[in-house]
Symmetry: C2
Subunit: 580 residues, 2 copies
């Protein structure tokens, strides 16, 4: 669950050395130029000795597996077989280093062997795999679990190109992620995303060997999730009947995720970020529909859209527990995200019962403790590990003590203050997911969304950092180079489960989903899968640029609208666009 | 050609006052809330007195015109008739201020009357129009030219919504642009844009009443234009046979532009930005294919991709004049853009003939003078007004005197140094197009495209302004509020023809064309059409936010992938997302 290096077993290494014993000493540990065929994320070990060989892939290529009753693996096999046979990928730069030959017979088949077909797609499941594509004879993919096999199928698909279809041979791959948790947070409340767009995002995540879709479903702006026991919440709190996620939609997304090796982790943010609940239940929401930043007063919310669940109203828990119960039914994922970020005391203080409570020497922290005590045990009782945003523990304004957040049941997600907060959480003993806003927030630096914004009425001078509280824009390089265990001890680093980029949707919807996410998310995907350094320990962003150009192009051909990172000229003229 | 306010004729005002004389004193000069139907860009005068009336639009609605042989107007009429009858626009916020009634008969027809049907779509053509939609009887659109009528049809289309189709009645519009030149610069060299994407951009420009597509066709990275007399240039200098603009493509784009009231202004950038020419003619290009920023030396180009036409080689002019001649044949537009930006002397100095010239007391400026003298008279002889980037006149490194740039034939386009350079150009007597990089460059602040970029290998601390030389990101508000005649005298302001946003394509291609352009370009479109102030002279960005949300949504439904600027919640709760 941390940054440990899972070495391949000795027996696999012996097999690999036997297959690739010639030429001795010419083994490459990485394909490092765009004149070859490359893989994203770079596998931990990819051996394809020079001269790199390729042969045709048979049009009757087949994939067989010992886990042929596994419906999700079967779906993946069907999908990848079709992709491999029909993609006919055309690299941006012809792979001149590859010695393509029709002398060797076409590759006829891949055999997949799974050791533990029943392993569920849970946090920490073994995603390792080994792939061998010999120069003659069938290819072999071995994996501990179906989920590792899905990763291996993706790698195979990237080693296939051309028309007629070619495939790299004489290849050995051993691979496994450095970090177990590699995710995207998507906010579907500020603006709505249709189901098809979410599915496309999941398929792109799978292409990048990512495994967690953290679905920030609800917020103060809208409540798009149809909760069967509380239908009023979406009926009144959504943006409309065409902007809902029905139970059938959720089941479709969850199943699609499983078919792609992607967990779907639901977040029902509370007690803050709940203004939309007030449309159905005004009595359980404080400060709903108030101006977020009243002149002369304290802000009532971190951004426009006010409303906090009232921790003193028993009905809050009746409704919330109904939601929690239904959400855990809809989402089989063993993690449940409870939110708990950005609780703004001034919002609670607008409520008379809260005012009375505070007047009688109650404290703000006690209010949050009441809320946590009234919900966390219930969520745990539903066999869920609870993820909270770090605020619940570190906020200066209102937080609860660690005694109320049992480390065996609670994971904290950090977003503020870079490495400092990561250190703070893990040194307190919490398993931690890193979503540093300074590096992993994909919406930053894209202007302000607040209205009547006079600060942009300027004719010259300082324009700032691009707007938004978290500007500037996070470039793919910034994301790629971020080391999420920087400054941690070895033991502390083990508590870092992984990371998530986040797309908050104040200024995003389906029109820009792909280009905001990709290829910047690919940068994190590789960094968390196999790292951001070469075998000498040097940051490999220069080499990664060439591969990422190629990978971005391939994603586009696969239907993902990833944005370009360079002129095509740079791709075709390696090194010529480098910084001086 | 400047910022003059074209007042409507007295007779039109009288007509308007007669039609809308009741209720006296309740005339609205602008539709200012999202609870009505709004128009983008806001017309100069839009009178729709309260209570605002609407009626059905007849399914057999027709449009007739006295200029029925005008092929471009006919195309526009066909297009708008179809749009009006089939769009069934659904406003984000129901237009509660509009009193829809079926008591009045449906609107049956629009009559278009054109005074000068033969007026060509040239700079400064009269784009004014008047539109009256009475409560009963046919609507009337009068315009001096077909191009003004096309603008009026767009306005009418925005006053139509719903299913069944409703139309605002009791409406009077008088409209005309403040600035005659309202354009987009698109760079199709760094990355290629398919013809279909260019056509979609032009259609979106027309929706925003913009009128100039400044096509930066070629540059050092690629030469995608097929020039009939010099076919080698694209054959060797393009990115490939699937990334070309053939003469037929150009004709299609030009005709599509005319059908939409959009001029297509070609730029063949030279003598700098010509590295791609070297693939066909290495002998006429200095410093081609060299590393752009050699260690220990001077940079050879402003960015990766080197190459300048050699001003001392006669063959340069043979080739370039062939190109110019063919381009003026392909593009009927009377303006021709010659580029002439970012001439980097170090590139010329790599050439032995240049070295000899300079050693014999020749100067850098003389080199550029030779180039201009060898090309500008030729372009002028082809009946073209020549646009150059300001560098040719203001560059510290190399420039030519104003005596060589006759003001009657030359227009300068400013991009550096904000209002200062605008002032410098107009005070020197040049007609000027404003493309301030600090405000109008749409690619800025989106990370660095150069490879091996170590400055993003940071774990904390200052992340700068979002990357790129021109960061930060230019928000729609920044663009909207920019006053392109700021600090100019009245006479100087008359020399400002208008403005262009620019999308340089190092990090853009078809995947992000729409979202990079829209709705930020809409912000400039309104600012240049009817200004950025209300009738009291106050900047109207707050009110514009609501209208731009609505307009962005409508553009999306029309197939333009414009990005969102706010959560839908903000649109539905006017004022609640405002800055404190």
């Amino acid at each position: 669950m941390g940054s440990k290096f899972n070495a391949p077993s000795l027996s696999l290494l012996v097999i690999a050395l036997c297959i690739f014993s010639s030429p001795i000493g010419k083994v490459q540990s990485a394909v490092s130029t765009t004149t070859s065929i490359t893989v994203w994320p770079q596998p931990r070990i990819l051996r394809w000795p020079s001269p790199q060989q390729a042969t045709l892939l048979s049009p009757s290529f087949t994939i067989t597996t010992n886990a042929n009753h596994h419906i999700h693996l079967a779906a993946a096999v069907t999908r990848y077989l079709r992709l491999i046979l029909t993609e006919h990928h055309r690299p941006l730069v012809p792979p001149s280093a590859v010695n393509f030959s029709t002398d060797t017979p076409p590759l006829q088949s891949l055999t997949i062997t799974i050791a533990e077909p029943a392993a569920p797609l849970h946090h920490g499941v073994d995603e390792s795999y080994s792939l061998t594509i010999p120069t003659t004879g069938p290819a072999n993919l071995t994996a501990a679990t179906p989920w590792g096999a899905i990763r291996g199928l993706e790698t195979l698909s990237q080693l296939v190109w051309g028309n007629p279809t070619r495939v790299a041979v004489g290849v050995y791959v051993w691979d496994a992620p450095i970090f177990a948790h590699r995710g995207i947070t998507l906010d579907t409340s500020r603006n709505y995303f249709p189901v098809e767009d979410i599915l496309r995002m999941i398929s792109a995540m799978s292409m990048n060997k990512m495994n967690v879709f953290h679905w920030h479903i609800t917020d103060s702006q809208s409540f798009p999730l149809v909760v069967p026991s509380e239908p009023n919440l979406a009926d009144k709190g959504s943006y409309g009947s065409d902007m809902l996620y029905s139970p059938a939609d959720v089941r479709r997304i969850v199943q699609f995720g499983l078919d792609h090796g992607v967990r779907v982790l639901p977040e029902i943010d509370s007690p803050g970020h709940t203004g939309s609940w007030a449309l159905a239940y005004p009595e359980i929401v404080t400060c709903a529909n108030m101006f977020w930043n009243p002149p002369g007063g304290e802000p009532l919310a971190a951004e426009p859209g006010t409303g906090h669940l009232n921790p003193l109203n028993p009905k809050t828990y009746t409704v919330l527990k109904n939601v929690i119960n239904d959400v855990t039914s809809l989402f089989p994922e063993p993690f449940y995200h409870g939110g708990a970020d950005e609780v703004v005391p001034a919002c609670w203080k607008t409520d008379p019962t809260v005012q009375t409570f505070l007047a009688n020497n109650g404290t703000l922290n006690q209010l949050l403790e009441t809320f946590i005590n009234s919900t966390l045990p219930y969520i745990i009782s539903l066999n869920r590990t609870v993820v909270y945003w770090e605020d619940v523990f570190v906020s200066d304004q209102v937080h609860v003590p660690s005694t109320m957040l049992p480390k065996e049941n609670v994971i904290l997600q950090t977003w503020n203050n870079g490495h400092n907060n990561t250190k703070r959480l893990v040194s307190s003993g919490y398993r931690t997911i890193v979503s540093s806003a300074d590096f992993y927030y994909l919406d930053c630096g894209h202007g302000e969304f607040v209205g009547n914004y006079s600060k942009y009425d300027i004719q010259s001078g300082n324009q700032g950092d691009g707007g938004s509280w978290c500007g500037p824009f996070k470039s793919w390089q910034l994301i790629y180079n971020y080391d999420i265990t920087y400054g941690l001890s070895e033991d502390e680093a083990k508590l870092v489960l992984g990371g998530e980029v986040a797309l908050w949707s104040e200024q995003a919807d389906q029109t820009v989903l792909d280009s905001r996410l990709w290829p910047r998310t690919s940068a994190m995907a590789e960094s968390l899968w196999s790292g951001n350094r070469d075998e000498k320990g040097v940051k490999r962003y220069a080499e990664a640029t060439d591969r990422l150009n190629e990978w971005r192009s391939r994603m586009v051909r696969r239907g993902i609208g990833a944005e370009p990172i360079q002129p095509l000229w740079c791709v075709r003229n390696p090194g010529m666009c480098n910084d001086a």
